[in-house]
């Protein structure tokens, strides 16, 4: 048991932190947006090979990359490229960024679809691979802090390449990926708020001096810290049980973090210019993915006490 980063892991994290620092100030038009896809951040992570960490170094390192990159205000497609695709395609993966889609919800809006090059579509127990080159996508407005899009044409699933029985593996790594993004976003949202409540005064003292604020803010910090270590353990373990634990915990804590942090940022936190929503509304977006908290809880229960279920 060793919770400290190795020298290699520390160097990897420092490198990603450097990239995030370089992308810490969104351009003024992006500051007013709900979702800011930072193409430059995506290119830096992809071009630098950081999203290939799972293949080169391991899943734990990939989770560290996702977690750190998720602290940036701009969104990039992180988890599917860094954690899902390498496990679905151990040698040669299709081109990223990826959109992860459930065939049952094909007609709905999907995260990352407007910027994705490949869609991985869960169809029962299988996964279908859709090359998005030439496929028409309509962008969809959303308060979720990712870009969303909907297919503007009919997709014939029968014509797509199929990876048999790959859906459980996709769901497992999807859970690790979303937990890693949530851990990074939650930690950053807490850090952002801690700084804000130290400087913003009400009734002649800092907001953060009120015990009612302190206690709830600590609980948000607690949730973010626990998300981090459950997720890293899930990446290290590489099994469905630990993946479900990480997702289940992150998804059950998201609601409290979002509500409390917006409370402490007050009316400022409602404005897009304040940036808080870039992290909190990523948490909201991920709260229901990969089946959501109840499906991951059922996976945990099945692993511990047997029984069927989703």
């Amino acid at each position: 048991m060793d919770y400290a980063l190795s020298e290699e892991q520390a160097a990897l994290v420092a490198a990603v932190q450097g990239i995030v620092r370089d992308h810490g100030a969104p351009p003024s038009d992006a500051r007013q947006s709900f979702a800011y896809f930072d193409a430059s951040l995506q290119a830096a992570l992809q071009g630098g090979g950081f999203l290939d960490a799972a293949r080169v170094l391991g899943a734990l390192e990939a989770a560290l990359v996702v977690m750190e990159a998720a602290t940036a205000p701009g969104a990039a497609e992180l988890g599917a490229s860094a954690l899902v695709a390498p496990h679905l395609f151990p040698s040669a993966a299709p081109n990223g960024p990826f959109a992860l889609i459930d065939a049952a919800a094909l007609g709905k809006a999907h995260r990352h679809l407007p910027i994705a090059k490949t869609a991985l579509i869960t169809d029962g127990g299988d996964v279908l691979v859709l090359d998005l080159n030439g496929v028409r996508i309509d962008p969809v407005d959303s308060v979720y802090a990712y870009v969303y899009g909907r297919f503007a044409e009919r997709i014939d699933l029968r014509a797509l390449p199929r990876i048999p029985d790959a859906a459980p593996l996709l769901r497992q790594w999807h859970r690790v990926a979303l937990a890693a993004e949530m851990a990074g976003a939650a930690a950053q949202a807490v850090a952002f708020t801690v700084e804000y409540v130290k400087t913003r005064h009400v009734f002649a003292k800092p907001v953060g001096a009120f015990q009612a604020v302190q206690h709830r803010l600590v609980q948000c910090h607690q949730a973010a810290l626990a998300m981090r270590y459950l997720t890293l353990k899930a990446a290290w373990a590489g099994d469905a049980y630990h993946a479900a634990l990480a997702a289940c915990f992150a998804q059950q804590k998201a609601s409290k973090i979002v509500f409390d942090l917006h409370q402490f940022n007050g009316a400022m936190g409602i404005t897009n210019a304040h940036l808080l929503h870039f992290w909190t509304y990523r948490l909201r977006a991920l709260q229901a993915e990969a089946g959501g908290v109840y499906a991951s809880a059922h996976t945990v229960a099945n692993a511990l006490w047997g029984g069927a279920g989703p």
Partner: protein, 379 residues
């Protein structure tokens, strides 16, 4: 980063489990654990069990060799704590002896005091109780009023302690008493419970019998050599002592076990497939695993002698959150466990009623993290 156990740690855990299989009576879970580890029955059992554990080199393995240990690391101490906790803590009150009373004596006691007290702890033959809380001083320990007045080469103690678990059966009391008017003018005295003027009464309460004792000190005279450290050094000593406990008890380990017991009961009743039951149970399990992950983080920091921070407080509140959720689960889905339906589930519930109060309240943990961890200003 590595989240797995080494082979040596796995072997050590198996050695403990084998000892438990061998040493615990067949009716252990039916007869003893429902009474709680503070019950007279379990305390008496610990007088038999701990010496047997000591003979197998498993009681104070983390202590230095000089005092009967093997110089094992904090992970070994913690693995032992996990296995003992999930077994219903057959060490009874002696977990305190080996975790912090012994190590504190090693640090502050005179050579004579060490010779007098450490062998009994290492052999597993002495029962200690902790004389800290008072009717008017719990979380705010520095408000304590029990007084030790210096009279020549003796101290005369007057006052009372409450919530003194194990006191009915204890041989010794690790007592905090006031020796001056200043808020932290406090001194530690090592008081034999058989001393004239010491009396114990027990109060009923929501937690199980044996925890809620009140100890009265009426003109209790002890020699000056009962003092641990210097006069007025009590605050520093107790702060040091509690640092051994900063990881707290491994609540996650027993929490998952108890959740499993509840599910087994629901299975027997044909109710375990209820998707609401399964979802709630899975969510609680995730909370306990979060507590485990953070607790291991803290143990790892301790092993590496990392500077103290508030992660231990975070780990503790994470575990408490999970405990409260599990207590709710028991009341919601197995309500008759508090009405004679299942002694083990009842024991778990009742022993945890004060979990958010003992060893620094939940709210105190939040204050410490807010101010020392997040750097938020004092109100």
């Amino acid at each position: 980063m590595e989240f797995g156990w080494s082979q040596a740690q796995e072997n050590y855990r198996e050695r403990i489990r084998a000892a438990l299989r061998e040493l615990l009576p067949a009716d252990w879970h039916e007869t003893y654990t429902p009474q709680s580890y503070a019950s007279d029955a379990q305390i008496e059992f610990s007088r038999k069990f701990c010496p047997q554990l000591a003979e197998r080199g498993l009681l104070v393995r983390h202590w230095p060799k000089e005092w009967g240990g093997e110089g094992g690391d904090d992970w070994e101490q913690f693995i032992l704590a996990e296995e003992m906790k999930v077994a219903g803590e057959p060490r009874g009150p002696q977990y305190m002896n080996v975790n912090w009373i012994g190590p504190t004596l090693m640090r502050f006691a005179t050579p004579e005091q060490r010779e007098k007290y450490l062998p009994g702890i290492a052999r597993g033959t002495t029962i200690w109780c902790q004389g800290f809380s008072e009717p008017g001083a719990g979380t705010d320990l520095a408000a304590l009023r029990t007084k030790a007045e210096r009279i020549g080469d003796r101290y005369r103690i007057n006052g009372s302690k409450i919530w003194t678990s194990y006191a009915r059966k204890a041989d010794m009391c690790f007592l905090l008493a006031r020796t001056g008017a200043g808020r932290k003018e406090i001194t530690v005295l090592l008081v034999p419970m058989a001393t004239m003027g010491v009396s114990v009464t027990s109060n009923p309460g929501l937690c199980k019998d044996g925890h809620l004792n009140e100890v009265f000190f009426t003109d209790v005279d002890v020699a000056i050599d009962a003092r641990l450290g210097e006069e007025g050094q009590g605050w520093a000593i107790v702060t040091h002592a509690l640092s051994f406990e900063r990881t707290g008890v491994p609540r996650y380990h027993v929490g998952i076990e108890v959740l499993g017991l509840a599910i087994a009961q629901l299975k027997a009743e044909g109710r375990a497939d209820d998707p609401i039951v399964r979802a709630r149970a899975g969510m609680i399990a995730a909370q306990f695993e979060a507590a485990r992950a953070l607790t291991y983080l803290v143990v790892d920091q301790r092993v590496k002698r990392a500077p103290e921070n508030t992660d231990a407080n975070v780990a503790r509140i994470t575990a408490l959150d999970a405990v409260v959720e599990l207590m709710n689960f028991l009341v919601e889905f197995t309500p008759d466990c508090l009405a004679g339906g299942d002694a083990q589930l009842e024991e778990y519930y009742r022993i945890n009623v004060p979990a958010g109060v003992t060893a620094g309240t939940y709210e105190l943990q939040l204050d410490l993290i807010a101010q020392r961890g997040l750097g938020l200003p004092r109100g």
